[in-house]
Amino acid sequence: MLQFLIDVLMRACDLALVAIALSAVYSLMKFPNVALVQYATAGALLAILFQRSGVPVWLAIGCGVGLTGLIGVLLNEFIFSRMLKSGSATAMIGSLAVSMIISAVFLLAVGPTATRFALPISRPMRILGARITEWQLWSFGVVAGALLLFALLYFRTDLGRQMRATATNEVLADATGINTRRMKALIVLISGLLAALGGVAIALKGEISIQTGLDLLLPVFAAAILGGLGNPFGAVAGALVIAVAETIVTNTNFGPLLGRAVAFLPAAYATAGSFLLLVATLLWRPRGIFVSEVKRV
């Protein structure tokens, strides 16, 4: 049972930071930035490259994440904000195109094989029959820490209040003297940093390849939509729901039902779990399962 919980948490951690970034950007910019999943890969790959050039691992992570945030701001400044002038659909398609270009850059830069941080080998610890390694715990820590910091910023600071005001009603926020342009630039930076940290968390406990971003695309969108696009912390709950669904799909032994010792669905069917949830949500709760209010006009 504990192993199940750990598996769920590990999967939720893969998705949570990128999903929250997607939702946060949507809340201010009003377009889902597909390229965010590539920022996750970029953050991790840059950090790995920094580490290879001799930088200590945590500093390398800092540099990789910071650089990715910067790239995110630049891309937004020169590409996405211009596309947004002709509509959010244009910007979304544009971000898809940009993420494909980023993918091609990765292919040239690091090749098609998966890479990982050079970390010391960690033996699994056994806790109540469940196994967990030190680096998996660090990965949890990174995600939990990032979520906590963002929550404090978002709910406890003046800056966070201004962001929320801008998200709720941009015109009104502007009229009350909030610099909405600055808020948007800030949320773009924060989302880039969060997504990059999400990638780093994945790389800390496993591997990252140029395919990782595209593999994240569907579950991350499903998590963000489940939580109500534009509701950042709803996305975290969405990520948990997706993780539970995927883990149930792949970790349930159907053997006893079929009179065999072991019978599992192939692990590749895990994505089917998130697909199914996404379709169901879009059909019955298109504004997300955690949104109860009626749409404000």
Partner: protein, 364 residues
């Protein structure tokens, strides 16, 4: 107008004869991607063969040229490479690749185009039925899986779980192993085909563990295998024996700490006449063999060169006939190569190996 045409013809003639000096053959190898380590080792075998051939007079009296293409371990890339070799380099013979899932479509394409294909690294059973013009210098999986099943049974394991790649190689190997192992009296708790190119196989490994097997039987390409070995270790699955099918491929990219003590089988890669070759490899590259596959690449190239010299022609049909003739009794560095009626190596000795200090060594 006539002059213009003539000039055009001369130009065309020039461009075709870009490699005018002698015979050109092609190879397709996984120089990048999951099997890059084995691909590089195959390339080394080919390089040694090329050096040897050209030092002793070349082919048809001229130096031999080998055009090497990277498949990146992907079927689509490999097929593009095969098309390029056929249409641009106009080679009569192509050697390669490594993964059966890539080799089979490439060989089918080459045979359709009337060129010869030499399999130097794949063991999928479907290779047998590709047709005339396709040859293998290593034994295929029917023999390998029988050997492995007996070997595992002899090691005392009765309940095993299998994980292999979801492609022609993995499917053939898993079903043949299961058949033989069950016939011996053992049980297979689960046989799982993994999707290639993932960055995590945790879920698959946990599913295998659920059957509480006595031993894990696995086969995976270099870098995927590294992931499987690391995650198996992190899940604590290495408290049970791990048996690698083609062990040197399975451990080529893995952290030695994760694979220490694993047992497995592999091709017997060095024959009675292989000593000189082994020394030449060590001298040129400064290390021991990094996989068992370089010798088969070497033998493949040497066999083709001998066949072209015998045929005194670069016509694929004549080369095929010469290979059939030579294949009745060819002495390679990987041992005697005798090709059966389908052009496949008929007898292939295997080794029982164990990982000691990070290296696969022959175990009794």
């Amino acid at each position: 107008m006539k002059k213009l045409l003539l000039a055009g013809l001369v130009l065309a003639g020039l461009s075709v004869s870009a490699h005018a000096e002698g015979v050109v053959i092609g190879t397709i190898l996984p120089l990048s991607g999951a099997s890059a380590t084995v691909g590089e080792d195959q390339r080394r075998g080919i390089e040694l063969a090329l050096d040897q051939i050209n030092a002793s007079g070349g082919v048809l009296g001229k130096p031999l040229t080998i055009v090497t293409e990277d498949s990146a371990g992907r079927t689509a890339t490999a097929l593009d490479a095969a098309k390029k070799l056929v249409t641009v380099d106009k080679v009569p013979v192509v050697l390669g690749e490594f993964s059966s899932g890539v080799t089979i479509p490439v060989a089918e394409y080459l045979v359709q185009q009337g060129r010869s294909h030499i399999n130097i690294g794949s063991s999928g059973l479907k290779i047998r039925t590709i047709g005339a013009g396709q040859f293998s210098v290593l034994g295929l999986d029917d023999v390998a899986s029988d050997f492995a099943a007996q070997d595992v049974y002899a090691s005392g394991a009765r309940k095993v779980a299998i994980i292999v790649p979801n492609n022609g190689y993995g499917q053939g190997m898993a079903s043949a192993f299961e058949k033989k192992f069950t016939a011996l009296g053992g049980t297979v708790t689960s046989a799982l085909l993994y999707t290639e190119g993932q960055t995590s196989y945790r879920r698959e490994l946990q599913q295998l563990e659920a059957g509480s097997p006595d031993a894990y039987i696995y086969s995976a390409y270099g870098k995927e295998s590294a992931t499987i070995n690391r995650e198996g270790f992190e899940l604590g699955l290495n408290d049970k024996p791990w048996y690698g099918l083609y062990l040197t491929m399975c451990i080529s990219d893995s952290e030695p700490h994760y694979v220490e003590g694993q047992i497995g089988m592999d091709l017997n890669y060095i024959g009675p006449n292989g000593k000189g070759y082994q020394d030449a490899y060590k001298k040129k590259f400064g290390t021991d063999f990094t996989s068992t596959f370089n010798g088969f690449a070497y033998d493949g190239v040497m066999l083709v060169a001998a066949a072209i010299n015998k045929a005194q022609s670069t016509d694929p049909a004549k080369i095929n006939a010469a290979i059939v003739e030579l294949g009745k009794d060819y002495d390679g560095v990987t041992g005697p190569i005798v090709l059966d009626a389908d052009g496949q190596r008929s007898a292939q000795p295997y080794l029982h190996l164990k990982v000691v200090d990070g290296k696969a060594v022959v175990a009794p």
